[in-house]
């Protein structure tokens, strides 16, 4: 795993990565506040997409209920902060621990009873929906009336308590996405990563080769859950309000998985590229309909749906696998795809 970190990509890929890193680091100095908010969204989706990709893209376990970990992560850190004044970073550790346990429980139940495929996906939805309705009735966390964080003062950045300007949130999210990227890169080159790929491609063959499929699937779920919960912590402190109806909603799970699938499932670049393409697409559709004076509700999402359909029909493996061959990248060669 450590070795993989020093396994450099090709010079060409390295140059592109470096250029991208510089652009992202300098972006807040150049762009306006609207573009910055879009970039924060891109990074958020890139991060949670990467987290989801660990489970589905690497290990082949389809979860449609990741809003559960976003929601629990958000609520744990926000409640600790609002009620007990605990720093969000300590709260994040608690959130990760709790989500890891939840992921382990769901994984244990599902894999012990050998539930897979569509049934597993439905089980994850059921847990997320169950929690949504449950949180709606827990008055300690504000129930359906919502939980509010004291509104951030924009003049002074308090990194310890995650209170401050959008620029601070941008860098926090950038750091998280970069960490997730490195972690996933290292994982994919590791023994665990190869075992996951084997399970994803053919679970029975992997088992026949002596891979502990239960254990490795558990690792994927637990890691993915813990990583996703950090996205929830960010969500809580960036938006400052939490409603179970919104944060546990199935839409939250769906929007999170579109990026990696459209970008390229199981690749490292996919979640990042997918998040960028989809978020920018959604925002430009909004600007375009606004500019044309068409404020018809639903129009923009209708176009979004059409674009989604076109991409999935013509690029079944996502954008990145179609793109990288033409760009001459072989960064993903180790995945064998």
């Amino acid at each position: 795993m450590i070795q993989a970190l020093f396994d450099w990509p090709t010079p060409r890929a390295l140059a592109v990565w470096a250029a991208l890193a510089v652009c992202l680091l300098l972006a807040p100095l150049v762009v306006g506040s609207y573009a910055l908010s879009v970039l924060v969204l891109v990074l958020y989706f890139a991060y949670v997409g990467q987290a989801w990709n660990v489970m589905m893209g690497f290990a082949g376990q389809l979860s449609l209920g990741h809003s559960l970990y976003i929601g629990v992560g958000a609520y744990v850190s926000a409640v600790l902060f609002v009620r007990y004044g605990v720093s969000p970073w300590a709260g994040a550790v608690a959130a990760m621990a709790i989500c890891a346990v939840i992921g382990a429980v769901i994984g244990f139940l599902a894999f012990r009873f050998s539930i897979s495929g569509v049934y597993f996906a439905l089980l994850t939805i059921a847990f997320a929906e169950f929690s949504r309705i449950g949180f709606d009735h827990i008055s300690f966390v504000g129930a359906s009336a919502g939980l509010f964080l004291p509104v951030a003062q924009r003049t002074h950045n308090d990194l310890l308590h995650l209170r401050g300007s959008p620029v601070m949130f941008y860098y926090v999210m950038l750091a998280l996405s970069a960490l997730a990227l490195f972690l996933c890169r290292a994982l994919r080159g590791s023994k665990t990563g190869y075992y996951w790929l084997a399970i994803r491609e053919d679970q029975e063959a992997a088992q026949a080769l002596g891979i502990d499929i239960f254990g490795y699937k558990m690792r994927a779920v637990v890691l993915s859950a813990a990583m996703t919960s950090l996205g929830g912590v960010f969500f809580a402190f960036y938006y400052n309000n939490l409603f179970p109806e919104q944060i546990f909603a199935i839409n939250r799970s769906i929007e999170l998985i579109l990026g990696p699938i459209i970008g390229g499932l199981g690749t490292l670049v996919g979640p990042l590229l997918g998040a960028f393409v989809l978020t920018v697409l959604a925002e430009s559709l909004r600007s375009a309909t606004d500019a044309l004076g068409l404020n018809l509700p639903g129009l923009q999402l209708l176009f979004y749906g059409v674009c989604l359909m076109v991409v999935i029909i013509f690029l079944p493996n996502g954008i990145w696998p179609a793109l990288k061959g033409r760009l001459g990248f072989d960064d993903d060669r180790r995945s064998g795809d």
Binding site: M56, L62, L64, L109, F113, I115, G117, V118, Y119, A121, L122, L123, I125, A126, F127, E129, F130, I133, G134, D136, H137, S144, I250, N251, I254, I257, L258, I261, I262, L265, L296, P297, G298, L299, L301, L302, Y304, G305, V306, L308, M309, I312, I313, P316
Partner: protein
């Protein structure tokens, strides 16, 4: 708790559950044969509900009779959807199919939002507030009619799959796709027919739902999930299971609304789903494979 209230709520729940069951039957037929999870099922029902509301507003057509034209309409929609869009996806992985149907659902929901706006609509039939009285038990007329119609449609479907040659051919596809190909069945066309039949089923259920609830463009996802819950609880591929699952969910919602807070009612459905998935993944009436 007065006993007659409990009886009223129980019977009301069962009657509503039969309509849920009809909706889920469409989902079950589609998944059982085509092996594609129709993530746009609730959205298709919403389309049918709007069609029923319009048919009532324009032609004073009772939603119970609107089942026939709207069933045909949805059949055509489902047939085209499957033959043009989904057939190339049947060999693709699940997540790919999922995105395609999520895209269909997004387009349907937002198309309806653009056409009809966000406000709730309904069809006020003349008998909306009438009821039958049997001793101490009061039955809403709409529920009785809707449940009866649901049973009739489900029976027609059951008979089709049991006795009609096309129905038998579809069952053959579901049992063994390769075998069906070998004996010369046009599997792709049968898939399109099946999706059409499933869509007609949910279309009929949509007409009946108009009698029970108001329609808004964003109703879809809740009913898609409800459909999954029912189908898994009852047992995928089992037609009787879908109806039984519908009754169980309708009943649990009604009782939860009476005994606890009404807003927590769907929690029971999901709890039931989790338990069934864990301990009887083939569903209550499903066969173990």
């Amino acid at each position: 708790m007065p006993l007659d209230l409990l009886a009223n709520v129980t019977i009301g729940g069962v009657l509503t559950g039969l309509v849920y069951g009809l909706m889920a039957l469409g989902l079950s037929v589609i998944f059982g044969v085509v092996r594609v999870v129709n993530f746009a099922h609730g959205e298709m029902m919403t389309v049918a509900m709007y069609a029923a509301v319009l048919a009532f507003a324009w032609f004073r057509l009772d939603p119970l009779w609107a089942i026939l034209p709207i069933g045909v309409l949805l059949f055509v929609f489902g047939y085209i959807l499957q033959s043009r869009l989904i057939n190339p996806f049947i060999t693709r992985p699940e997540h790919s199919q999922f995105i395609l149907l999520v895209a269909v659902a997004t387009i349907l929901t937002n198309g309806m939002l653009m056409i009809f706006g966000p406000d709730a609509r309904n069809a006020q039939v003349g008998y909306a507030y009438d009821s039958f009285q049997i001793g101490p038990i009061l039955l809403d007329k709409v529920r009785v009619y809707a449940a009866t119609a649901a049973i009739l449609v489900a029976s027609a479907l059951f008979a089709f799959f049991r006795y009609a040659p096309t129905g038998k051919a579809i069952r053959a596809c579901a049992d063994n796709q390769l075998g069906a190909l070998v004996v010369g069945l046009d599997v792709k066309r049968l898939y399109a027919l099946t999706f059409g039949i499933g869509a007609a089923c949910v279309g009929a259920a949509g007409c009946l739902m108009v009698l029970l609830i108001d329609v808004t463009p964003t109703l879809g996802p809740v009913y898609t999930l409800l459909g999954f819950t029912i189908v898994i609880v009852g047992g995928l591929g089992s037609m009787a299971g879908a109806l039984l699952g519908g009754i169980l969910i309708g009943l649990s919602e009604a009782l939860a609304g009476l005994l606890l807070v009404p807003s927590a009612k769907s929690m029971f459905g999901f709890a039931l789903l989790i338990l069934v998935l864990l301990f009887r993944p083939q569903g209550l009436m499903g066969k173990r494979t």
